[in-house]
Structures are given as structure tokens and as C-alpha cells.
Amino acid sequence: MAGLEDLYREIILDHYRNPRNRGELEVPPATMAEGFNPLCGDEVRVYLQVADGIITEVGIGGQGCSISQSSASMMSTAVVGKSIDETRSVLRKFKEMMSIHEHGLEGDHLSPDENQPGRSGLGDLEALRGVVKFPVRIKCATLGWNTLEQALTEPGDG
């Protein structure tokens, strides 16, 4: 059985208590996208400042549960300084990690290697892997990322 510790890893709680890159950026020049989880009312706003194809600044707004807010916070630290292409690659890897539930809830189909932290190249974001054992919360964890994806498609000055 999946325990609470699988969901609420220390680093997740840390990002919830001390969210990084919290705040708004001026639009324009920044772009902004807003995401909602219609099930629970969680909201995330993602502001992106892009210069020469590099994300130079991220702002996170909104409110919601520890998983949605910490995931957005962790996302912001993961993509600052990355190119749009690199960002899309992280985005894809993260969403892949979050779609494990389609194959099995316990993640036991993964080879031991794949279950090892660090194998996905996602770094700290690996801490969110446990969310897939709580299917209802997957939408919380992906909210910020889907909103990032939207923000990337917004026309901006960058």
C-alpha cells in the first residue's frame, strides 16, 4: 500500500512551505498562462520571460494544494535558464513520469533500474514520482506543467 510518505516527500513539503519564484511578471514583455483543476478549484499562473530562446525568469501565481503548488515551484526552478527546447524536453519527461498510472498503480512494472532516482534525469523532480500511486492527485502535480506548456505557446516579446 502506498503510504503518505510516498506522496509527501520532504522536498515537496519544502517547496510548499517555501515556494520558489513566487510572484507575477509584467505582461508583456512576459507571457502568462493560467491553469485550473476543475475538480478541486486549484489555480496556477505561470509567467515566462524569454530572451534569445532562453527562459530567463519564471513567476508562479495562484493557490492550491501542496502537490500542485510545490510541483509548480519545482518546475520553475527546473526550467529557469533552460532553452525552450530543453524546457520542452523536461516537460515531456515529467509528463511521462506522471503517466505511469496508465500501466499500473504500484509502479512495479518498472525495472529496478528505472525505479532508481536519477535515472530519468529529472533530478529533484523525481520526488514527485510517488504521486502516481495516488491517481486523483496526478492532475494536481501536472497542473503547473500543463500551464507551462500553454505559456510556451503564448506569443511573447522574447
Binding site: 500500500m1 503518505l4 509527501y8 513539503l13 475538480l39 478541486c40 478549484g41 492550491g64 494544494c65 501542496s66
Partner: protein, 418 residues
């Protein structure tokens, strides 16, 4: 069996609980503590048996075949209609239209009555307590017809603020109001509202989804024109609800859905609709669900709604007392503080723990509560929250369930201590 007139006694919750198979199970190694009946109720064995028996003994389409089991199935549907009418205190079972749920019942009124009677500039008066089911159909109508929507506000206790009722009703053609809030548990004064609405010739629709499962119902005494109800919150199956409407209103309304059953005649040139209620029951109805709903009505009648209401009031008082005693200012309970004008729906905010996180920890203790906006986003905004954790009590809950909730809340506080 109808023991509606039985004097209220005390409810033997242990024996009630034993009637519900699901309440015997464990989750995460703990006995289940089901506190989400506001979302849907659990079902007693008698309801499951009735649906099973329907399929194994009399399954046939109704109002069609002239053979034995078809007649039995038809009789089962019509006796369910009669039982529901009596349970609600409706004057006639012919005024009961089966629908998929209360949502469909409200949509039926919005489409059929609304599109016949409302035009640009007409006012529909809603309340800030409404569930999205009693908001969105009217917003759809507003967008299509230019109907104006007004709102009765709520006060700090999550009850309707009625000081400006007369102004709000000025020019109103319809008042649509819930009989019991699914968020704050508030019980609006329906008779007072219908009297005020009728004084300006406004029609009144009552969403009774959260009332009928918990209180003795007398919709005639409410004086309403339409009442929407749903089966699955009152021990019945999902997929079945009903609209009650005054005969003269229903008879003047065009059909909502077109199809089989709802006609008197069809030619290549057109159709003649059937009489009420058949006019509004297009296609094959969910027959086993209707039969199951009847069994749930029998179950409730056997215990007596007065007895159930008294039990829930007692339990709600115990819950309010226990939660305030144990958590004091750390816990906010949205809604009326006194049991006199509220039901057993407790929307909670505990410290700064997000309702989703709270319900996640509660789940580990086997405690099922609902976290979210409860399909009442306008009300959430007034309450100044985006979500709450909601515990809703029903006849099969007792003080041990409330204690389990309190223990689990304390454990959540410990877990998220920061």
C-alpha cells in the same frame, strides 16, 4: 410499508449500519468511516436486492408488452412513482416525471418551461447557495435568451441574506433555490421564499437534492411549483431522479427530449406529444434504478424520516461540539453554528492545510470526506476559499464516526506540522 406517521424514536445506528454492505469494508486496513453522503449515499442491501430481483424476475420494457413480466415491470415503475409522490408529499403521482438526476430535472425546466416562458429582460433569481446544477442551466438560458440573472446573497453564517428580497424579486419570473446547501448545510426558509415569489407572480423551483434524504418532505406545504430530487443521495442507485411540477404547469410545457414513449402519435408530418408525465420520459427509462429507488424509499419510511432527522440533528450537534472543543480556532466550520437551521453538512478549514491534503491524510485513516469546491464555486468565492473539506452526515453515521474524523484531523495536523 409506510410508517411515515410513526412517532420519532431513536435510531438504532448499529443495526442500520449492518444493512449497508459497503460500510462493513476496510480501507487502508481501517474500518471505513463514510462521511461523504452529500456526494452520494451508500445503499442498503434491500436496494441491491430489489434491483437484482428486478433483473432476475421481471426484466421487460415498460408501457409496451402485454405479457406477464412486462405488466409486472410496468406496475413496478408506476408503484415507485406513487411511492415517491407520497414520500415527497406531492398531490398526485402524475406530477412526478422520472429523470436521470436532479440536474436533468432542472435542465428540463430550463429548456421546456424556461424557453416557453422567458424572454429577453426577464429576471431569474438564484441564490449564492446554489449548486452548479441550479446555476449553469439558467446561465445557458441567459446567454441564449438575454434573461437577466440576479442573486440572493449569503451572510457570514452561510445563510441567505433576505433583507432585500423584495427588491431582488422585482420583475422576477422565476426563483430557483436550494432547500439545503450542499456546502454550508444552511436550510433556506422555502415557504417564506415561495410566498414572496408568488406575490410577484414568479414561479418557484426548489432543488431538494440535499433536503429530501434528510428531512420529512411536504412539498405541498412548501408551495413550490417545481421540485427537483435525486435518488442516489437518499440510499437509491445513481442514474435516477425526478422532477415534480404542478399539473397545470407541466401540461402547458412542450417535451424536453424527443423519442419513443413520449408521443401519442407520430406521422411523417410530425408528432403529437403524450400526456404528462409520459411526455417528458422519452426512451426506455432506467427501470431497475426506479425499482431500487422505490426500495430506498421503503427503507427510509420504515425508519421514519422524523426519526432520521432527529438522529442527524443530534449527531450534527455532537459533531459541532466535538470539533469546536478539540480544535478551537484552528478549525473553521463554514455555515450556521447552531443545529436549529442547518443540516449535517460540515465544510471544514483546518489551519492552513489545503482541503486536498487534509482529505488525503483522512483517507489513510479510513475517513472519506469530500475535498473541493462542491460544484458551488460562486459560494466558495463568497466564503473566501477555493475549496473546503466537507464531512456530510447521514442516518448510518454515529458518534464513533465523528470521533474518527476528529482523530484523523488531529493526525493531519501532526503530519503537516509547520
Amino acid at each position: 410499508m409506510n410508517t411515515k406517521t410513526a412517532t420519532p424514536g431513536s435510531l438504532d445506528v448499529t443495526s442500520v449500519k449492518a444493512d449497508f454492505p459497503l460500510l462493513q469494508r476496510e480501507v487502508h486496513g481501517k474500518s471505513i468511516v463514510y462521511l461523504d453522503s452529500g456526494a452520494t449515499s451508500q445503499k442498503p442491501q434491500s436496494v441491491l436486492d430489489a434491483m437484482d430481483r428486478y433483473y432476475s424476475e421481471i426484466n421487460a420494457n415498460v408501457h409496451r408488452g402485454a405479457y406477464y413480466i412486462a405488466e409486472r415491470a410496468t406496475a413496478a415503475v408506476e408503484s415507485a412513482r406513487a411511492a415517491l409522490a407520497e414520500f415527497l408529499g406531492a398531490p398526485s403521482s402524475e406530477e412526478i416525471v422520472f429523470t436521470k438526476n436532479a440536474t436533468e430535472a432542472i435542465n428540463l425546466v430550463a429548456h421546456s418551461w424556461g424557453r416557453t416562458n422567458l424572454t429577453e429582460g426577464d429576471v431569474v433569481l438564484l441564490t449564492m447557495l446554489e449548486h452548479h446544477a441550479n446555476i449553469v442551466p439558467w446561465q445557458q438560458l441567459a446567454a441564449e435568451r438575454g434573461v437577466e440573472i440576479r442573486w440572493i446573497p449569503v451572510d457570514d453564517e452561510g445563510c441567505l441574506e433576505l433583507t432585500n428580497l423584495d427588491d431582488l424579486l422585482n420583475g422576477a419570473r422565476l426563483l430557483a433555490v436550494t432547500a439545503a446547501s450542499n456546502v454550508t448545510g444552511a436550510l433556506p426558509p422555502i415557504r417564506r421564499l415561495t410566498d414572496a415569489a408568488h406575490a410577484v407572480d414568479a414561479t418557484v423551483l426548489v432543488d431538494a437534492s440535499q433536503w429530501v434524504p434528510h428531512q420529512p418532505s411536504d412539498i405541498t406545504a412548501w408551495g413550490a411549483d417545481f421540485v427537483a430530487v435525486t435518488g442516489h443521495k437518499m440510499l437509491g442507485p445513481t442514474g435516477i431522479g425526478a422532477l415534480w411540477g404542478r399539473q397545470e404547469l407541466l401540461s402547458a410545457m412542450p417535451p424536453f427530449l424527443g423519442g419513443g414513449s413520449m408521443i401519442q402519435n407520430v406521422t411523417v408530418d410530425g408528432f403529437t406529444p403524450a400526456d404528462v408525465p409520459t411526455r417528458f420520459e422519452a426512451g426506455t427509462q432506467p427501470i431497475s434504478e426506479i425499482v431500487g429507488w422505490h426500495a430506498s424509499i421503503d427503507y427510509l419510511n420504515q425508519l421514519g424520516m422524523e426519526t432520521i432527522a432527529a438522529h442527524e440533528q443530534h449527531l450534527t450537534a455532537y459533531a459541532l461540539r466535538t470539533l469546536v472543543d478539540r480544535f478551537g480556532d484552528d478549525l473553521t466550520i463554514h455555515g450556521p453554528p447552531s443545529v436549529e437551521n442547518r443540516g449535517g453538512t460540515l465544510s471544514l478549514a483546518y489551519r492552513d492545510i489545503h482541503p486536498h491534503d487534509l482529505s488525503q491524510v483522512l483517507d489513510q485513516h479510513g475517513v472519506c470526506v469530500r475535498a473541493g469546491h462542491h460544484c458551488a464555486k460562486p459560494l466558495m468565492k463568497v466564503l473566501g476559499v477555493s475549496a473546503t473539506a466537507r464531512a456530510s452526515l447521514y442516518l448510518y453515521n454515529d458518534e464513533s464516526d465523528v470521533d474518527a474524523l476528529a482523530d484523523a484531523l488531529a493526525a493531519a495536523g501532526e503530519f503537516f506540522k509547520f
